[in-house]
Symmetry: C2
Subunit: 87 residues, 2 copies
């Protein structure tokens, strides 16, 4: 299954969420990750996120798609994931 995860979290928690999600998915741009997850990885991601965020302030959205082909992606401006991998 293919996933897009977006998050809107408190400044103090942004890096923690980013560092955690990097273990499972590809960083695309600030607050956006993409990639494939197995059922067990998805469970780990959900559990891990719940430990990091403040659920009464923060918001994480997990979009699940049958596969990457269900998605057409257009970027306007910079493709930040490319520059990020160089740094």
């Amino acid at each position: 299954m293919y996933f897009i995860i977006v998050y809107d979290v408190g400044v103090k928690r942004v890096n923690k969420v980013k560092k955690f999600l990097r273990k499972y998915l590809n960083w695309i741009q600030n607050s956006v990750f993409e990639g494939n997850l197995t059922k067990s990885e998805l469970k780990e991601v959900k559990q891990g996120i719940k430990k990091i965020i403040n659920q009464s302030h923060d918001s994480i959205i997990i979009y699940k798609l049958r596969n990457k082909k269900a998605l057409e992606k257009t970027t306007i401006g910079q493709e930040k994931e490319k520059t990020d991998n160089i740094i």
Copy 2:
């Protein structure tokens, strides 16, 4: 067609992008919009965004899906679009 638009733009341009996209789509959380667009609306959105952003710094990603059913959405924490509509 159903769309998710995410953006990572300079602080000076965030509100302009948000204000512009609000005319076409639903604000979901910071830097995330969703909704249906016709072909001509999509063209307007792309053209409008190109006028607002700095393409050598900013990044806008447009995810296109055949329809909303192709997408399963889970929110952890706050559903910000609900609180936003009240304000």
